[in-house]
């Protein structure tokens, strides 16, 4: 029973991280129709910023992480996304593959293949006991941060002009421009918000997922792939369904890690059946609800991509 509760809470926390990444990817997809495969490398850059400043005061370290991720986000927008405006979604997806591998290669050349330890706030890794359940502080913090981000994002999208313009551009970018919505301003705003979320993920991930305490060039790549699958399975053309899709994948990974036969430590690589189980679930969803697990439309997930 106690183990069940712990597994459940851990799975919710992992789902929260994946949901954060999903919303970051979904925001940019909404206004640009661009599936950013390089999203994980933004998180990687942030994690390197943290790892290289382990000895600095934690707030400075986190500020640097945000600075690096946001600067990289804006650089990508100007150097890669903007020149590709109007290109087909496939072209843009392939371009983000290239960016992802470019950034991994730069990290490999600069920092080497051996992982660097990221220390953010060690205290958060300590357990807190609620009844007979032992949960690490970071697990609770992760869930709370995710809730806070979603609340802030909801306010941004529903209460501000730029948020309204972002929603309109996601629905029909051409009409939005004909009404005077500045496409580049809206896209830059979406890229920045997406970058802030990537930075938050970069701060949380090394603490929340024990295996992710080491930052290496392919950091967060695996999470990105699973989140992208989740976003498509959930329904990429709506932010809410994409986010729920991301959460579901993280939650499923967390639950499977808890219950599948494992050869070692939590969470994923040691669980020998984990990938098979997760992607079996994906196949089931695509067979039973091809329009997307949480989507309202009738178009299939494959058509949407």
């Amino acid at each position: 029973m106690t183990d069940d509760v712990q597994t459940l809470v851990d799975a919710i926390a992992l789902g929260s991280i994946y949901a954060l990444m999903a919303v970051g990817i979904g925001l940019v997809f909404g206004v640009l129709r661009l599936v950013n495969f390089a999203y994980g490398q933004l998180i990687m850059a942030g994690a390197y910023a943290l790892a290289l400043t382990n000895d600095s005061p934690v707030l400075l370290s986190i500020a640097l992480c945000f600075g690096v991720v946001l600067a990289l986000s804006v650089a990508l927008e100007f150097a890669a996304f903007r020149p590709l405006r109007g290109a087909s979604p496939t072209t843009m997806l392939v371009a983000t593959f290239a960016i992802s591998y470019l950034l991994q290669s730069i990290a490999l050349v600069r920092f080497g293949a051996i992982g660097k330890i990221v220390v953010v706030i060690p205290k958060l890794s300590e357990p807190v006991t609620i009844g007979s359940v032992h949960i690490r502080w970071i697990t609770l913090v992760t869930i709370l941060v995710a809730i806070g981000v979603f609340a802030a994002l909801t306010l941004l999208l529903t209460r501000t002009t730029i948020g309204l313009q972002m929603r309109a551009a996601s629905i029909d970018a051409e009409t939005a421009r004909l009404l005077g919505v500045r496409a580049n301003a809206v896209i830059t705003a979406a890229v920045l918000v997406s970058g802030v979320i990537a930075a938050i993920a970069a701060v949380i991930l090394p603490m929340a997922v024990p295996e992710r305490v080491l930052v290496s060039p392919d950091y967060a790549l695996r999470e990105t792939i699973i989140v992208l699958v989740g976003v498509v399975v959930g329904g990429i053309d709506r932010l809410l369904s994409a986010t729920l899709g991301g959460f579901t994948m993280g939650f499923a990974v967390g639950m499977f890690s808890g219950y599948l036969p494992s050869t070692g430590a939590w969470p994923f690589t040691s669980s020998v059946y984990l990938d098979s189980a997760v992607f079996m679930l994906v196949i089931l969803v695509l067979l039973l609800r091809p329009e997307g697990l949480f989507a309202r439309g009738r178009r299939t997930a494959v058509e949407r991509l």
Partner: protein, 240 residues
């Protein structure tokens, strides 16, 4: 009567989709405060002309001037800020957003933030049904209500020139009357109007001048007196 000073002028406008010409050497002028009609069969290049004015499609030749200044090559969001607003074909309402949110999006195209509340208020006065339904999801409105919202959404930007692409399409006759009455009021408020329509006779009777285009070319110019001249109308559409 002296002709009003030109507000919107197209000269030698050419637009191609790939190698297919959609608009061929179109010359057209809309004077300040005028209502000018643009009619012609499907595929004549009417919508393309409006989209070229808005900067949504790029002309291959010719010029587009607003109050004498060329706006050719500007992006749609800049054209709106220069003072031209479009009511697109099929209304293109954001059906998932509320009526009020749709109007707020129209405010994006304003040249100044001052007076935005008053502009919205004027739209509510012009179209009371838009005010009544401002909290509702726009997709739940009837076609006629959506058309009024689409016109209102363009008007809150307080344009000098209003372009309308088939505003009466798919509307019941009584609603069509409402739309044409609203256009007369909008014109009386000093807005210049270029109206693309399928309802040829009504448009010719309503507008100060109506251009007939076919195959991307200007065929003839009709005045209100021609609206009852069946022979002229048939000729306009099917060629002399």
């Amino acid at each position: 009567m002296t002709a009003p000073e030109p507000m919107l002028e197209l000269s030698g406008l050419e637009v191609r989709y790939g190698t297919v010409p959609a608009v061929r050497g179109l010359d057209l002028s809309v004077g300040k405060g005028e209502i000018v009609g643009l009619i012609g069969p499907n595929g004549a290049g009417k919508s393309t002309t409006l989209h070229a004015i808005m900067g949504a499609v790029r002309p291959s030749a010719g010029d587009i001037r607003l109050s004498g200044t060329s706006i050719r090559g500007r992006a749609p969001e800049q054209v709106v800020r220069a003072g031209i607003a479009l009511v697109p074909e099929g209304r293109r309402i954001f059906s998932e957003l509320t009526v009020e949110e749709n109007l707020r999006l129209g405010l994006s195209g304003r040249r100044s933030k001052v007076g935005a509340t008053e502009a919205v208020e004027r739209v509510y006065e012009l179209f009371p049904v838009v005010r009544e339904s401002r909290g509702r999801q726009a997709g739940l409105l009837s076609g006629g209500q959506q058309q009024q919202l689409a016109i209102g959404r363009a008007l809150v930007a307080e344009p000098d020139v209003l372009l309308l692409d088939e505003p009466s399409l798919g509307l019941a006759p009584t609603v069509v009357n409402t739309v044409f009455e609203a256009l007369a009021t909008i014109r009386a408020q000093g807005v210049t109007i270029l109206l693309v329509e399928q309802r040829a006779q009504r448009t010719v009777a309503f507008a100060d001048r109506t251009y007939v285009v076919s195959n991307g070319e200007l065929r003839m110019t009709l005045g209100p007196e021609d609206a009852t001249d069946t022979r002229r109308m048939v000729e306009a559409y099917f060629g002399a």
